[in-house]
């Protein structure tokens, strides 16, 4: 634990235990999403499925990166991951992104994907609101993750025909925002 780092956050008026719990819940959401997206991605078959396989895979890897980036901050603030992985799954901040009943229904697949991203956008927006101006390191991390989750949501939303995302999918390496926390 980074004792003084935690003290500074407490002095700024943040309930650190509550913040740590939120970070653990969101880390659980990231790792479970990585797992469920693996199942979704392998089921994106046929001509329609192939079209979104790339963005599903990018989102999957980046969500795993989010988990990796969150873990050190949890421990810096004096928290820890649950010892039991089933408990970790069940404390996820977002519902499981389960395979739709008809995996060949690409629209249904996209709905699952976009709702998972929307839950993440809400979660990290909330953490940013809690930590802005108070816990600079967690804010920086949550903001970086939020940037990527917003892009994930916009990709899937665009494929659903809800409107243009305004940008293209990734050119180059994954996690352009979160990458700096993983070096």
């Amino acid at each position: 634990m980074a004792r003084v780092a935690r003290e500074m956050v407490e002095k700024a008026g943040v309930n650190v235990d509550q913040l740590v719990e939120l970070l653990v819940n969101n880390a659980a959401a990231e790792l479970t999403t990585f797992y469920y997206y693996t199942i979704l991605r392998v089921n994106l078959i046929g001509l329609e499925g192939e079209g979104i396989k790339e963005i599903a895979e990018t989102a999957r890897i980046e969500d795993r990166n989010h988990f990796e980036a969150l873990v050190p901050r949890i421990y810096e603030l004096g928290g820890k991951l649950p010892e039991n992985m089933k408990d970790f799954h069940d404390c996820s901040a977002c519902p499981p992104a389960k395979l739709p009943t008809d995996p060949k229904n690409i629209t249904a697949m996209l709905q699952v994907l976009v709702e998972a991203e929307r839950c993440a956008v809400r979660g990290y927006s909330h953490i940013c609101n809690l930590t802005a101006g108070k816990d600079h390191r967690t804010y920086d991390l949550a903001l970086a993750i939020l940037n990527e989750e917003v892009e994930h949501e916009s990709w899937f939303s665009e494929f659903l025909g809800e409107g243009p995302s305004g940008h293209f999918m990734r050119r180059g390496e994954t996690s352009p925002f979160v990458g700096k926390f993983m070096r």
Binding site: Q18, L22, N25, D90, C91, A93, G123, H126, N129, G163
Partner: protein, 115 residues
Amino acid sequence: MRSQSTGETVQGCRLPREARVDRMTETAETAHPWPARLPTITRQRLRKYNGRDGTPVYVALNGIVYDVTDSFLWPKGRHYAEHEAGADLTRAMDQAPHGDDVLKRFPIVGTLGDD
């Protein structure tokens, strides 16, 4: 884009004024279509439905009591490290990163009454 209902120039996606829920005037009767007769659940009674020891998980919002027992996001009556079930969350909704619509898909079990 010009709104057909108000004539105002609007940008992006915006609902006509009559379609937007005015939270200041929203009441238990206008917020959500519900059966004519629902039990009144007092705040004191609501506190018992906190998800602990197997009790159902109820929350109140804008005078309506919802059963969120089946929600993944209310495990054992706790939501997102900050909220406990068995309570009126109307004020807390102002700070929430989501709107009232997240509760619309859950069963309504009563209206909130004073103790």
